[in-house]
């Protein structure tokens, strides 16, 4: 699971709504998978990122040098874009958990795949 993906995930436990974001990340196995750098692509992703959630996740993974916020004129700042490219697209969480901040419910990440299925009792209306 890449950090960009993590940034889009939100808990769907009944009743939590927007308080289910962001999911608290815990990783026991992380891998760096190189991805071809496409500056335009990264630039387009930047506005879609919830920055606070990204910082929190990066911090958990002890990633250094993550910019506190998008800098002015980031679209043309290759250094910035390369850093963001690495953080968003090259860091792959293979094993760990995602936790709903509101309910505490834990979702496992296994072989890079988060399993977000709720049990029958949890989904009962």
């Amino acid at each position: 699971m890449k950090l960009l993906t993590h940034n889009l995930l939100s808990s769907h436990v009944r009743g939590v709504g927007p308080r289910g974001f962001p999911l608290r990340l815990q990783a026991t196995e992380v891998r760096i998978s190189p991805v071809e750098f496409n500056p335009d692509f990264v630039a387009r992703m930047i506005p879609k990122v919830e920055w606070a959630a990204l910082l929190e996740a990066a911090d958990t993974l002890h990633l250094v040098e993550v910019p506190k916020e998008p800098i002015q004129g980031y679209e043309h700042d290759e250094r910035f874009l390369r850093k963001m490219h690495h953080v968003l697209l090259e860091v792959d969480v293979l094993e760990g958990t995602l936790q709903c901040p509101e309910s505490g419910r834990l979702f496992p990440i296994s072989r890079g795949i988060p399993n977000m299925l709720l049990s029958d009792e949890e989904t009962e209306t």
């Binding site: 939100s10 927007p18 387009r44 879609k48 299925l117 709720l118």
Partner: protein
């Protein structure tokens, strides 16, 4: 001209010739072989239309092997049959209304079309058959040694009604040797196609797979057969080529039908016509959300987990319109594929950031193997933050939800994920597998070709067929013409109403007769090894693997749009039919 009677049509080159024929023949009395008087009645008609059947294929699994025995053997076999009434004769000779019958090995009971597998007839098959059967086995004409023989004698005018040999009574391979005279046998498919086949004298008819389990076979009680004039008594399909037909007078035909009695219940791929499988307790149509969820758990989620690998191997070709949709999205778009399956579409456009979601862990694993971003979740509760996606796709997913409410809820989730202005592409299986008279690929792969000259040769082109622009249904003025979702819940679309609330089991590659049904999937344990893969599971294989049933609610024309209409914050951009699917592109306002 009374309806439902056969007629002959004659075309003359000039009006004068036709008038002359009429005056000469109309009312004329002729005398037939039995001394019966026949009066000819002629009528002028405004037009004579007939279907060009074109190139028809033999029913799958069917073979006719000509000259399989010599004339000497034919004579010997015919003479060996003792038709005299002999009460001591253990081989239960019966005289039926139409034809004479004798059984060996096991008696066939016509009351229930069955054999009693625990009561074999003494003597087994006649000795003279032994060497012939051994020879056929050795030469590969048959694969199994039969243990039941029925000898039928058809005099001209005799026939046998169309039937499928009882699944639970006999194994797959059924062979019939024609002696004494050739005959035309009719094979009929449940969808209505009829294929008349010439069975020459001394030929062996081999029925396996679909031709044995699904198609009916029968012989019309008549004294003449219509045959191909150019081919005469040679085997083949009697086509509709009106230039090449002639009548052939029947002789006395004796058939030796060899079958192997089944010892276990039938587990064929044609459950709808299988007496063993239809006896199983059928599944009910769900009455509540909870029941719907349980039904989906058993007949969707568990099944996909079991068949994931094989299923994935049959889902390799991305569909053009879906590719088009994805490629048209702006670079850098965030796209969610809800119900992504094996991730077929996740890598189509490298300029997109796509996340796949599927309920099946095994299918998501396959996405992961391809290095895509994917997660396991429920389409009714997608763990992606609202308004974050530039686009969503839902390909062949929503038809797996068992109630209208759940199907709408799935649509609501898709829309929730979209940012304002975001688009969703939705594909669901259509009830109508034949649209604008053109069969979908699903039906066409039934190998009954439509022939070179289709009836609709001057019909709309394929392009027109596939993309049909609907008027903007967000516009209040056009709203009344769009049926509401409630119409579909009561009326359906000319399908048989599920009155007893049991879900029917569908026969693959035939048209849908119900909107809610179970569709079989025949699992191949080692997919991709040697045998060709058919998208809906192998049919007629000699060694059927386990069968899984998947629940589907197939959509009628307009039903998906009506479901979308219940959502207040969308407008439908496009609505079309694509290869047996109803498709909608909607936009969040």
């Amino acid at each position: 001209m009374p309806p439902n009677k056969p007629y002959s049509f004659v075309r003359y080159k000039t009006v004068e010739e036709s008038k002359k024929a009429y005056d000469t023949l109309n009312g004329k009395v002729i005398v037939d072989d039995l001394g019966q008087q026949i009066i000819l009645y002629l009528n002028f008609v405004e037009k004579a239309q007939w279907k060009e059947l074109g190139l028809q294929a033999l029913p799958p699994g069917l073979m006719v092997i000509e000259d399989i025995i010599s004339s000497e053997d034919e004579k010997m076999l015919l003479e060996s049959v003792n038709w005299t009434e002999d009460t001591d004769n253990q081989n239960f000779q019966k005289s039926l209304k139409h034809r004479r019958v004798k059984h060996f090995g096991y008696e066939f009971h016509y009351e229930n079309n069955h054999v009693d597998k625990d009561k074999p007839l003494p003597g087994g098959l006649p000795d003279i058959c032994d060497s012939i059967l051994e020879k056929w086995l050795k030469e590969g004409f048959i694969k199994h040694k039969p243990d039941q023989l029925t000898v039928n004698q058809y005099e001209p005018g005799h026939g046998i009604p169309a039937h499928v040999d009882t699944h639970s009574a006999f194994e797959d391979e059924i062979v019939s040797l024609s002696l004494g005279s050739e005959i035309v046998m009719d094979f009929k498919h449940p969808d209505g196609v009829t294929v008349p086949i010439m069975l020459p004298c001394r030929s062996l008819l081999v029925m396996t797979g679909e031709s044995r389990y699904l198609w009916t076979h029968g012989i019309t009680p008549r004294k003449f057969d219509t045959i191909q004039a150019s081919r005469g008594p040679k085997s083949g399909i009697i086509t509709g080529d009106v230039e090449d037909l002639t009548l052939s007078k029947r002789g006395i035909r004796t058939s030796f039908t060899f079958r192997k009695v089944r010892q276990t219940p039938c587990n064929c791929s044609y459950p709808l016509v299988c007496d063993s499988q239809m006896k199983e307790t059928p599944t009910s149509f769900p009455e509540s959300d909870k029941e719907a969820s349980q039904l989906e758990q058993e007949y969707v989620h568990q099944v996909y987990e079991e068949i994931a690998r094989h299923f994935s191997s049959t889902r390799h070709t991305p569909w053009p319109h879906i590719v088009e949709f994805l490629k048209a999205l702006p670079s850098g778009s965030l796209v969610a594929d809800i119900g992504c399956g094996n991730g077929k579409y996740l890598g189509i456009n490298k300029e997109l950031y796509m996340i796949g979601c599927d309920h099946s862990q095994n299918l998501v694993d396959i996405c992961r193997e391809k290095h895509y971003q994917a997660l396991v979740c429920d389409a009714l509760a997608v763990p992606i933050r609202s308004g974050s996606c530039d686009a969503c796709i839902s390909i062949a997913v929503i038809h797996h939800f068992a109630t209208a409410e759940r199907r709408v809820a799935a649509l609501q989730e898709l829309v929730r994920l979209l940012r304002p202005g975001g688009k969703a592409l939705i594909y669901v299986w259509a009830m109508e597998q034949e649209y604008n008279k053109k069969k979908s690929k699903y039906l066409r792969e039934n190998r009954i070709s439509q022939g070179k000259k289709e009836e609709i040769s001057n019909d709309t082109s394929v392009q027109e067929l596939l993309v049909k622009q609907m008027p903007d249904v967000g516009n209040q003025d056009s709203a009344p013409s769009v049926p509401s979702i409630n119409d579909f819940q009561d009326r359906g679309c000319n399908s048989r109403k599920v009155t007893n609330s049991k879900l029917p089991i569908h026969t693959n590659r035939t048209s849908f007769h119900s909107q809610d049904l179970l569709v079989p999937w025949h699992l191949k344990e080692n997919p991709g090894k040697g045998k060709s893969i058919e998208p809906f599971g192998p049919l007629g294989s000699h060694d059927p693997g386990p069968v899984f049933h998947r629940y589907y609610h197939v959509f009628c024309e307009g039903e998906m749009e009506a479901a979308c209409q219940t959502l207040s914050n969308i407008s439908i951009l496009q609505s079309y039919y694509d290869q047996g699917n109803w498709c909608v592109i909607l936009q969040k306002v």
